[in-house]
Symmetry: C2
Subunit: 340 residues, 2 copies
Amino acid sequence: MKVSVLYGPRDVRFEERDDPKIIKPTDAIIKISATCVCGSDLWPYRGLNPITQPTPMGHEYCGVVEEVGSDVRSVKPGQFVIGSFFVSDNTCPHCQAGYQTSCQNRELIPGAQAPYLRVPLADGTLVPTPELPSKDMLPSLLTLSDVMGTGWFAADAANVKPGKTVVVVGDGAVGLLGVLSAKQMGAHRIIAMSRNPARQKLAKEFGATDIVTERSDEGVARIKEMTNGIGADSVLECVGTQESMMQAFRITRPGGHMGFVGVPHGVVLNGQDLFFAFAHIHLHGGPAPVRRYLPDLIKLVWNGKIDPGKVFDLTLPLDQVAEGYRAMDERRAIKTLLRP
Amino acid sequence: MKVSVLYGPRDVRFEERDDPKIIKPTDAIIKISATCVCGSDLWPYRGLNPITQPTPMGHEYCGVVEEVGSDVRSVKPGQFVIGSFFVSDNTCPHCQAGYQTSCQNRELIPGAQAPYLRVPLADGTLVPTPELPSKDMLPSLLTLSDVMGTGWFAADAANVKPGKTVVVVGDGAVGLLGVLSAKQMGAHRIIAMSRNPARQKLAKEFGATDIVTERSDEGVARIKEMTNGIGADSVLECVGTQESMMQAFRITRPGGHMGFVGVPHGVVLNGQDLFFAFAHIHLHGGPAPVRRYLPDLIKLVWNGKIDPGKVFDLTLPLDQVAEGYRAMDERRAIKTLLRP
């Protein structure tokens, strides 16, 4: 089969690899229906995470079970399944606490930008849909593998509740789905920080009540002005830079909650600032435990309550994966869906 | 009157200052029954916070109302009152959210190591006891002004609940009262990290079920061993150094809660560590909103349910304040009570 492989900065190739095989009795092989490029794939693509050897890319996937190992009980060949970007046993104490991305046996899904994928710990990782989905539903189901679950976790970690005022920092796919999540959770006011007209439009479609284009000091002043000087109840940090983290801290009210899901790059927090300047902010984040949310989010998509697949504004055949990365890198596309 | 004044590192003097007067109609003057030296007073005493001018010291107090301004409604002369180390209006949005130490009109109490004290925003700051307390009750009531409220906030911020496993990092007065708070909140297991026999003893009296003397890697390994490799549900960080913060992060389970109340000095947190190494830890802290807890904690002391005054193992007349600082600096005393 041919798969996506990163060789170095901005050098994604589509090349031959062996088909995956069952290695352990807890594995499953799935035939991928749709996969995509993640915002976090852009960090190594841009050379910000070093690449020491050619690396198969992609960790978002959904598809049909092709084969299962002898110990697999909860999924069977022919079922359509979705799984998290980290595999999990779903039985260890961290999984039981709802943090499957901290599973004691977790492994990162490797190389999902491919026609076939081996998924370890299939029973703990994969969740089947009620039936085979229609083709229209594929994009939305695919988002549940990472980006939608991550937006949902950002909102959950930021304690979004009915009636709350929410700010989303970051207008990438995760931020936009953070808006959608906040809407589902009943937020009263959802302020999206974005300067990009296409993304502003989608944010509004997903439920944003206000758009703020200012950043840094001006952005902080604008949010303070909109909240009577108080700050927001819930802030979703969906970028991961020093600037975006500071933005998020500065607009969260004392006693408010900040959920951070942008993978931090070069972020340093000063302890005294955390204690005094950003006092009393509840902080929670990390790799989203999307496995926890999968059953409920599948229901929401299945019943047509949410349509997170709208974040895909570019669809390409898998062999054009390099263009998929380029389009996102240049911010021509919010998110690229790839069809094997 | 004569008060405690810090001139520079390890130079506390007892010298004449004007008696305080009502300046604003929302002020009260109280005659101090007992005051004390705070762990946070040791930072400037040790030269770790710069002193640019002679500074009246102390912010923990309780006593009898002597006089009130014309706008004061909730306390009256003759009442015994306790207040927080930050004054608050108790009406602004941050106060209403329970974060009175983030009050939009907050001020730090200055110079409570004195016979008399002016308390601004008396209505929002001071809470009276049901009657005049007995002399025996003074030490415990005094702790509610800061140290007990801070230990309570540490436990509350760390989400201590019945049945939980709790670790307290720091065996100063705050840490010890964090143990007492965790016990009151129904924790199943309370592990105090301490190497000092007197403090270990008090920790056990307050409810610690285990003592861990190891630190750093050994301390982490010991806690992991005691929790089946999982880590603690709730960790109270009651020191504020880089080492103690790292200790606290490393022993909190994914999905667990860390409450931090030690004023950070030289603490720097790496964003990637927060995201990956310490993933999924709920973080909450800052200056304790002791005003929120005062009514309930007064009841607990009044009804003999808790005796936090035990942290005072040295009582001196106020004119010996310099010795009070020395004894704490040299760790001869856990906490010094001063009687004007």
